[in-house]
């Protein structure tokens, strides 16, 4: 908890802080002083850095997983789950993991796969509820990265227009008697760079293309947007951040002049049949976990649900007509609800090394160089129909808003209010445990970055100033910043 004195000081919002000995964990004010002083030196608007509080150890508040770590760190239900919800969680988990099969089948609860698909089950891409990566070795195929495609236009609701033949995503698998759409490929070229202190680094710059296209040519001037399957933790909590809080954070025209805009993506809400605030996906294109889940069932596995009752084939793909269906819808209401509840109930793991001196130094730097402007550390959740999620003090390090990250990261594929260069700030919680869970350190929307430092170095646009600040740090400062992010 934040001490009363500090809380009062925070409310005042100026840099006058109580004095005291420096460099101890308990002495939060001293740290805050150092931080805010440096912040001012960098010529930024003087805003105080919240000192480390006990609640930061538990990024998901009382939902935080404080028991199981290692490779299973992302698999736990909310620690405060009610019996009733935990029961739904376990059943949802079963459907999340088990393979859907071709219809008709004796496995009636789990048939209807395809005919075109990216995976047979959710966990193929969200393995151990964690994060996917692009192929890490020669000859490996893309599993946990999907490719959104389109013509670069938008329809009357703002949704990106799909490729007329292949739809809005490439499905590299099909039922045995059919042809898959195509095989995505990537090639990396190395880009060399240098920190201000002379230390060299290399970034991997990707180029993507498709082979074995089975249904003719792709649209001319096709826009391609690769998307890594993100970790599943904390989704219900992010959904419970109130709309008012997000609107408060948004500053689309940068009226405060800090160089950071922050824009809400107003996307299509299928259930409500109107535009709504987008929160999920790399461009915040989905308004709810429910719609995200229905979209993944349909787009990734070819399974219809009450929300999306169509098929994932386009009219040009005639193979789809006349094939047996796995039911109407293929994912029945009860199963769908269980998977949605499961997806909303995966707990965020506890932080580690919170008191480590290097981590604390990195924490200060994180604020100083401007990372926290978009990776907003702390929120208090509002209302939710899962009472476990309500009123939690959470530390996701995101504002859920769109920011321009520059042309180098852009996909040139506008989506609703997001331009080609804009991406939603991804949450950083659990980021240091991806290696334990998924055995890789790949970050960013297409997994091009090998670790935190490279991810920072790819930031452009609104993130450019923070990136340059990072490049100008000393070696030990950079390591401290990375250590902090990995401690989240």
């Amino acid at each position: 908890m934040i001490s009363e004195t500090v809380a009062r000081w925070l409310q005042r919002g100026d840099a006058a802080v109580p004095s005291g000995p420096t460099r101890t964990v308990s002495n939060m004010a001293a740290l805050a002083l150092a931080a805010s002083a440096a912040f001012s030196c960098a010529g930024e608007t003087a805003a105080p850095i919240e000192p480390p509080s006990e609640s930061e150890r538990f990024p998901g508040g009382s939902t935080t997983n404080d028991l199981l770590f290692g490779s299973k760190a992302f698999t736990m239900p909310l620690a405060n789950a009610t019996r009733e919800h935990e029961t739904l969680f376990f059943s949802g988990n079963s459907f999340f993991n088990s393979a859907w099969v071709e219809a008709p089948s004796s496995t009636t609860a789990r048939d209807g796969l395809g005919p075109l698909f990216n995976a047979r089950n959710c966990s193929a891409c969200h393995f151990e509820d964690g994060r996917g990566s692009p192929p890490l070795e020669e000859g490996e195929s893309f599993v946990a990265v999907l490719f959104r495609i389109g013509t670069g236009e938008r329809d009357e609701n703002g949704a990106p227009t799909p490729d007329p033949v292949y739809g809005d995503q490439i499905q590299p698998f099909a039922l045995s008697e059919l042809s898959a759409e195509g095989v995505p490929r990537v090639e990396y070229t190395t880009r060399k760079g240098e920190y201000a202190d002379g230390e060299k680094y290399e970034l991997l710059s990707p180029r993507y293309w498709f082979e074995e296209l089975a249904y003719g040519d792709l649209a001319e001037d096709l826009r391609v947007s690769p998307r890594v399957a993100p970790a599943m933790i904390g989704l219900g909590l992010l959904e419970a951040i109130s709309e008012a809080d997000l609107k408060q954070l948004a500053d689309p025209d940068d009226t405060d002049g800090d160089g950071i805009s922050g824009k809400i993506n107003r996307v299509w809400d299928e259930a409500a049949q109107k535009r709504a605030i987008g929160r999920f996906g790399w461009k915040a294109e989905q308004p709810s976990v429910r719609q995200q889940t229905a979209g993944a069932f349909l787009g990734d596995m070819g399974l219809s649900s009450a929300l999306f009752s169509t098929t994932s084939c386009t009219e040009a793909e005639e193979i789809c007509s006349g094939l047996p269906s796995g039911g109407e819808p293929e994912v029945d209401e009860e199963t769908f609800e269980r998977v949605v509840t499961y997806s909303r109930m995966l707990a965020v793991p506890m932080r580690h090394d919170v008191d480590d001196e290097e981590v604390l130094r990195g924490r200060t730097l994180f604020h100083e160089i401007g990372c926290a402007a978009c990776h907003v550390p702390h929120h208090t959740t509002g209302k939710s129909d899962l009472e476990e999620l309500e009123g939690q003090e959470i530390w996701p390090y995101t504002d859920l808003l769109l920011h321009d990250l520059g042309k180098e990261l852009g996909d040139d594929r506008p989506s609703f209010d997001a331009t080609g260069n804009e991406w939603r700030t991804p949450p950083l919680w659990g980021i240091g445990r991806i290696e334990d869970v998924n055995g890789h350190d790949r970050l960013l929307h297409d997994g091009r970055a090998r670790g935190v430092a490279e991810a920072v170095l790819w930031h452009g646009g609104e993130g450019e100033r923070a990136r340059e600040n990072f490049r100008n740090l000393s070696r030990s400062e950079r390591h401290a910043l990375v250590a902090f992010v990995e401690s989240l």
Binding site: E54, S55, F58, G61, S62, T64, D66, L67, L68, F69, G70, S71, K72, M76, A79, N80, R83, E86, T87, L88, F90, S91, N93, S94, N97, S98, A99, V101, P104, S105, S106, T107, A109, R110, A119, R120, N121, S123, A124, C125, F127, V143, M350, H352, D353, E393, G432, R433, E435, D436, V437, G439, E486
Partner: protein
């Protein structure tokens, strides 16, 4: 936040009970004993708790000593249990070889009997999972290859409605240990090609009857399509099973540079954390949750753990027995030899005797509830009397046993290791 407060309250509440309970609790010499001596061993052989430990119980030095001894005993129990799992898998391999050599009702029945026997020690080893030890470390732990479920039957062999499905009926796939190992879990957790449940499916076939297990005909291995490939498949997955168990026995045998040595060199708190993590997850999440709660909720045979052989009820018993062995530091080997030594029960008792006893009783209750389940489990989750029995076991594992284990976790203020 509220959890923290809760935790400190727990710790406080339990430590109030401890003052002065525990002299002489420590001290059983740990290790594998060839005697059939009773539980607990000889008391008082060293590490006795003298005064000066303060109101909280044993001083941390004594407590550490006790945990170290219990961890030694744990390693002995793990080693003996994996040893029996391997021995019974070798017996299974012999019976399967005899069956493939001369397929008949008799040899098939003998192979099934051997499979059921091999499950008994293996299930107990599930208490050694979930802390990224040899069985399930993310690098090369064989758990997914050994015991993953549910099985997508159609990925392996024909099923009702599709006579050509599966690797067996696809001559373009070579049936070798290497190939099957690679196919296992390809494209996500559930394309299971190997392990106990693959062997189970190949022996029993799909369970299509209400009151009995699967009824795979012997002709699947004589005159049916691809019978030779099916035989090859069964042999290869059995070899793989034995090979994986050998690796686990190696990892836990004493006097070697292996996981056991590394484990014992860890701090007392870390050792205890690993042991307890296994018990907590197996009690509440794996057995109580994924295996029982899910099946109870969906009433679907697809959520039954050993569905082909209708042996799921024994899986539940085996899991609880394994937990009991770990807590009490005991194990009875297949040859009748009994192991006993310093236990984690004694470790907990030294700090909070009431909690220690409550947990011991609770595990015993869970065991009795598991033993009360009536086969076949796929009917047990449907009939009203059966559902009551299943529910009682879920209640005991998830809402009684697991929270008590968590209390122990917090009583010892066990903390989480940092990623490297």
């Amino acid at each position: 936040m509220s959890r923290l407060v809760e935790k400190s309250r727990n710790i406080f509440a339990t430590s109030c009970l401890v003052a002065g309970v525990l002299a002489g609790a420590s001290g059983c010499k740990s290790g594998e004993s060839d005697s059939t001596g009773g539980e607990g061993g000889a008391p008082g052989a060293g590490g006795a708790v003298e005064g000066g430990a303060g109101p909280g119980g044993a001083s941390s030095g004594d407590e550490d000593e006790l945990i170290n001894e219990a961890a030694e005993q744990y390693a002995s129990v793990v080693s003996a249990t994996y040893g029996d799992a391997l021995a019974s898998a070798l017996a299974l391999k012999t019976e399967i070889a005899a069956f493939l050599d001369e397929p008949s009702e008799e040899t098939l029945t003998a192979a099934k009997k051997a499979w059921l026997a091999s499950r008994e020690p293996y299930l107990k080893t599930e208490a050694f999972r979930f802390y990224d030890g040899p069985i399930d470390n993310p690098e090369d732990g064989p758990e997914g290859q050994l015991n993953a479920w549910p099985l997508d039957e159609a990925y392996i062999d024909y099923v009702v409605g599709d006579v050509d499905s599966g690797i067996i009926n696809d001559p373009s796939v070579a049936i070798t240990a290497l190939a099957l190992g690679a196919l296992n879990e390809q494209g996500g957790e559930k394309n299971i090609a190997t392990g106990y449940h693959a062997i189970e499916f190949l022996l029993w076939g799909q369970d299509l009857s209400e009151d009995g297990p699967g009824e795979r005909p012997v002709t699947d291995y004589t005159t049916a399509d691809n019978s030779e490939r099916r035989g090859q498949y069964l042999q290869v997955v059995t070899d793989l099973l034995v090979q994986d168990l050998e690796g686990l026995v190696q990892a836990w045998s004493s006097g070697k540079t292996n996981y056991r040595a590394e484990f014992l060199a860890e701090s007392p708190a870390e050792k205890m954390r690993r042991v307890l993590t296994g018990l907590i997850v197996l009690s509440g999440f794996e057995t109580g949750g994924e295996r029982l709660q899910t099946a109870y909720d969906t009433q679907d045979q697809e959520d039954e753990h050993s569905c082909f052989s209708d042996n799921t009820h024994r899986d539940m018993v085996g899991d609880v027995l394994g937990i009991q062995d770990v807590y009490l530091g005991t194990y009875q080997k297949l040859d009748g030899t009994k192991l006993s030594g310093t236990s984690f029960f004694e470790v907990v008792k030294a700090k909070d005797s009431a909690l220690a006893a409550e947990l011991k009783d609770r595990i015993q209750t869970s065991l009795e509830l598991a033993e009360a389940l009536k086969p076949p489990f796929d009917q047990e989750i449907k009939s009203s009397a059966g559902r009551k029995r299943v529910e009682a076991l879920i209640e005991s594992l998830r809402f009684e046993q697991e929270p008590l284990l968590e209390d122990v976790f917090r009583l010892f203020e066990l903390t989480i290791p940092n990623p490297e």
